[in-house]
């Protein structure tokens, strides 16, 4: 293994890989932040407007849910292609890391919104009822009961979602987004530079491992603090 790593990561490899790592992290961080904000907002909306939710709005919930499902059923590739004109409008060009963030966000937000919703639904109804019984307002139930009570589950889902973001950024490499996926395709695949492919893959594995381990530690920390 160490032999392979030595062979693969030459100075030339680093020259290509390092900026690619930068691009991948740039796309991942930006998309993750947007995904976290909009995913939680939409997740809250889905949760609140359920049939037996805190603010039931059946039609809204049905329409909204259908839109989210539709977005989720589109392959990321298709979303990337579809949002190219939009990216051109906003960022000024239809390629590059910044341009693809719109597509990445549109791919990941619906997924994360559903994850957030399902984390919220895991909170025992009795806790929500207890909060209702003391006259808590809807936002208090949301932010003082549902969110904190579902935090460990939210963190775990968030970790999974970040890793999904990373894998979509790699896919976006196909469309000139830059990043490690781009390296794997342009150098590893098109130019038969196997060591570039291996290097890109190894770095991706390391990044994903880091995220997963970080998420696990965070979730465990919360659980342990609460003595659950």
């Amino acid at each position: 293994m160490i032999e392979v790593i030595k062979k693969v990561f030459t100075l030339d490899t680093w020259k290509v890989i390092l900026p690619a790592i930068g691009d991948t992290l740039f796309m991942t961080v930006f998309t993750t932040v947007l995904m976290a904000i909009f995913g939680v907002l939409l997740g809250v909306a889905l949760f609140l407007t359920q049939r037996d939710g805190l603010r039931p709005l059946r039609v809204f919930n049905a329409v909204f849910g259908a839109i989210i499902n539709a977005l989720r059923s589109l392959p990321s590739m298709v979303i990337i292609i579809l949002t190219m004109p939009l990216a051109k409008l906003i960022v000024g060009k239809s390629w590059g890391p910044a341009a693809v963030i719109i597509a990445l966000t549109l791919t990941c937000v619906p997924m994360f919104a559903r994850m957030v919703e399902s984390s919220f639904l895991e909170v025992p109804r009795g806790k929500v009822e207890a909060a209702k019984s003391i006259g808590a307002r809807t936002w208090e139930i949301m932010f003082k009961v549902v969110l904190p009570e579902s935090l460990p589950s939210l963190i775990r889902n968030f970790t999974i979602a970040i890793i999904a973001v990373i894998s979509v950024t790699a896919l976006a490499g196909f469309f000139g987004a830059g990043g490690l996926g781009d390296v794997a395709v342009r150098f590893g695949w098109n130019r038969f530079l196997t060591h570039m492919m291996v290097a890109a893959v190894l770095v991706l594995i390391v990044i994903v491992e880091f995220v997963q381990i970080g998420g696990d530690i965070w979730a465990k920390h919360v659980v342990r603090k609460r003595h659950l």
């Binding site: 207890a130 019984s133 208090e140």
Partner: protein
């Protein structure tokens, strides 16, 4: 209807609809509860006791009929008024329903935050109420570190924090060991005496009725089939439910005595 009743329930109906059928959970419930009473609502599972209790703070919306607490008609309150009313009402649950994300202090603070007290008042009130339920030494523990009995005492502290006029107890002792349940009932009784708080207790345990309640109403399939003082109802039970309850209970007592005397 007498005028000194503190809680009045009149012609209350509630139906649950499933896809297949409509189930009448409460049928024409009429009830009066005096101020300072410990009132038991008794029945088998599915009789509608919890639903009746939850109609009092409208966790369950009745289909028709009215609930009065003091001068207020609860069933006529708009949403914001209902929230304000609920802040003057405590409720405890079989599963405690504490927040795992908050310490004992945080759990008891919650209703006070909701009632918009300032920090100093909240801190003072939390100390005071934890003293009352004898949990001062557990103030910075999380619910995950407490026993069932302690959790329920936190539940009671949370319910009492904002000085309620009524305490609703939904099978609050059913998940506890007998002697722990007894200590929780002791606590409820002493709160009732000290604060003159009206307590409504839903239970399927006759021991709870005998030990804590002064008056009871017996529910059977959504209707009140019997009500009165505990002494009256227990000495002369007329409903099927109460006859079964009393019979099972006396068998148990006889059995326990036989066993205890070594025969």
């Amino acid at each position: 209807m007498s005028n000194n009743a503190f809680i009045r329930i009149e012609h209350l109906y509630k139906t649950f609809s499933t896809q297949k059928e409509q189930i009448e959970v409460l049928k024409d419930i009429n009830l009066e509860i005096e101020k300072g009473d410990i009132f038991g609502i008794v029945g088998f599972s599915g009789a509608g006791k919890s639903t009746l209790l939850r109609c009092i703070n409208r966790l369950e919306e009745p289909d028709s009929g009215s609930v009065f607490v003091g001068e207020q008609e609860i069933t006529a309150l708009a949403h914001d008024e209902l929230l304000a009313f609920r802040r003057k009402l405590g409720m405890i649950f079989q599963q405690f329903n504490l927040l795992d994300s908050r310490t004992v202090r945080g759990n008891v603070s919650f209703p006070l935050e909701v009632a918009r007290l300032n920090r100093a008042d909240i801190a003072r009130r939390v100390d005071e109420i934890l003293e009352l339920v004898d949990l001062s030494d557990r103030i910075s523990f999380f619910p995950g570190q407490l026993s069932g009995g302690q959790k329920q005492r936190v539940g009671i502290a949370r319910a009492l924090a904002n000085d309620p006029v009524v305490l609703l107890s939904d099978e609050a002792t059913s998940a506890l060991d007998p002697q722990i349940a007894l200590s929780v009932l002791d606590l409820l009784r002493s709160i009732n005496e000290k604060l003159g708080l009206t307590i409504i207790v839903v239970t399927h345990q006759l021991e709870v009725v005998k030990y804590a309640c002064r008056h009871i109403a017996v529910l059977e399939a959504g209707s009140i089939v019997e009500q009165g003082s505990v002494a009256q109802v227990l000495t002369n039970p007329t409903s099927d439910t109460m006859q079964v309850f009393v019979k099972v209970n006396s068998n148990l007592t006889a059995g326990a005595l036989t066993e205890g005397s070594g025969i």
